[in-house]
Amino acid sequence: MKPRHKRFALVAGGVAALCIAAALILNAFNSNLVFFYSPTQVAAHEAPAGRSFRIGGMVESGSLQRQPDGVTVRFVVTDTAKSIPVLYEGILPDLFKEGKGVVAEGKLEGDGVFRASQVLAKHDENYMPPEAASAVEKAQKAEQESQRTLVLDKSAARGAENKP
């Protein structure tokens, strides 16, 4: 091979390898490489069975119950499409609130209840004073009713792009 051909072959090989890499990365994003699973994914059996994993979503409004012992709490995690009841014994983070994002780590028991060993609060990228927040919340509720969009942060982030 002439040196020029050789160099061309090498460059072509390199470019091909990088293309394969790009294809593989795109392929990976189609599969579930996640820090947490949404209740919909859990319902569709995409989440691990019989081992601990994380679920993420919203704490359903009005679902939080404290058990008489004072440390055990029960709430429902939802992504509006599906929901999963969660049982947790321990201290909740300060930002844990109904209607807000949460990531819980634990196991899904046979009875369909998720026994959490750790509960983390996940908040979204919105920062605003409380007054503004309540105004936005109202508006959002109305929007939600009409569109039934997902309220998971990820989808909220995407939704935000369409917002004026």
Partner: protein
């Protein structure tokens, strides 16, 4: 006025220029920090969900942005030094590394500090946090490698190779929150859409960002002067400085 850049690409001419510029950036850094912190702590309202703990944002976000930006700039200088064999470029890369490492450390530390009250944990191994930690290791590796080769020109080149290879990590840090579900929030500020943040908060944050910029430039200039002196200590012009 025409400005000859090449005039300043030699250490000898850049040294006095850096000396003249550095004080301005130091003053700007101090002034902007005071203004930014004032806005951040006294003007900006509390947040509707996080209350006052969100105010870490005024340190965390500027530091996190700078940590990535400085890395890219550093790798750029290092690459220029490697390709064009210009001494000053490599010196700039060296001068930037400690500041970048500091910024990364601050971002990690304030992030962890912030994570405790908001998420309920100091640390999780999500993509954003892990890749930021790798960034810190890359900075440390860059400095360690440079320090452990004693011919400075060889050290420049070797460290440059590492810096260039490490650039892959930066987009991973930035896009990790998009690509994977992370505990870390998505971006609040973006070019393509309006910021999802109240305007005074944003103002405070941006002022702090400029403060961090000014600080980084100031430290880099000051440090590069030290490096120039150290490296060129045997050159005639440095000897002249001493006698002046």
């Amino acid at each position: 006025m025409s400005f000859n850049w090449f005039r300043y690409s030699s250490p000898q001419t850049f040294y006095p220029l850096a000396g003249r510029l550095a004080p301005f950036f130091w003053i700007a850094a101090v002034a902007l920090t005071i203004a930014g912190l004032y806005i951040g702590f006294f003007v900006a309202p509390t947040d509707f969900q996080q209350g006052d703990s969100y105010r870490i944002i005024f340190i965390h976000v500027p530091a996190a942005w700078m940590s990535m930006f400085i890395y890219v700039v550093m790798a750029g200088w290092a690459a220029a030094g490697l390709i064009f064999n210009t001494r000053l470029s490599s010196m700039m890369a060296n001068a930037l590394a400690p500041t970048g490492a500091l910024m990364t450390a601050i971002a990690l530390w304030t992030g962890a500090l912030w994570g405790r009250p908001t998420w309920g944990t100091w640390w999780v191994w999500d993509a954003r946090l892990t890749s930021e930690l790798i960034l810190l290791f890359l900075y440390v590796g860059f400095m360690a490698l440079h320090a452990s080769i004693d011919d400075p020109r060889r050290a420049d080149k070797a460290a440059a190779i590492l810096a260039i290879v490490g650039v892959v990590n930066v987009p991973i840090i930035y896009f990790s929150v998009k690509w994977w579900n992370t505990l870390h929030q998505g971006s609040s500020v973006s070019i393509t859409r309006a910021p999802s943040m109240a305007s005074t908060m944003l103002l405070g944050m941006l002022v702090m960002v400029f403060a961090f910029w000014a600080y980084s430039i100031a430290t880099a200039l000051t440090r590069v002067r030290g490096i120039i002196l150290e490296r060129e200590r045997h050159a005639a012009w440095v000897a002249q400085l001493g006698t002046e």
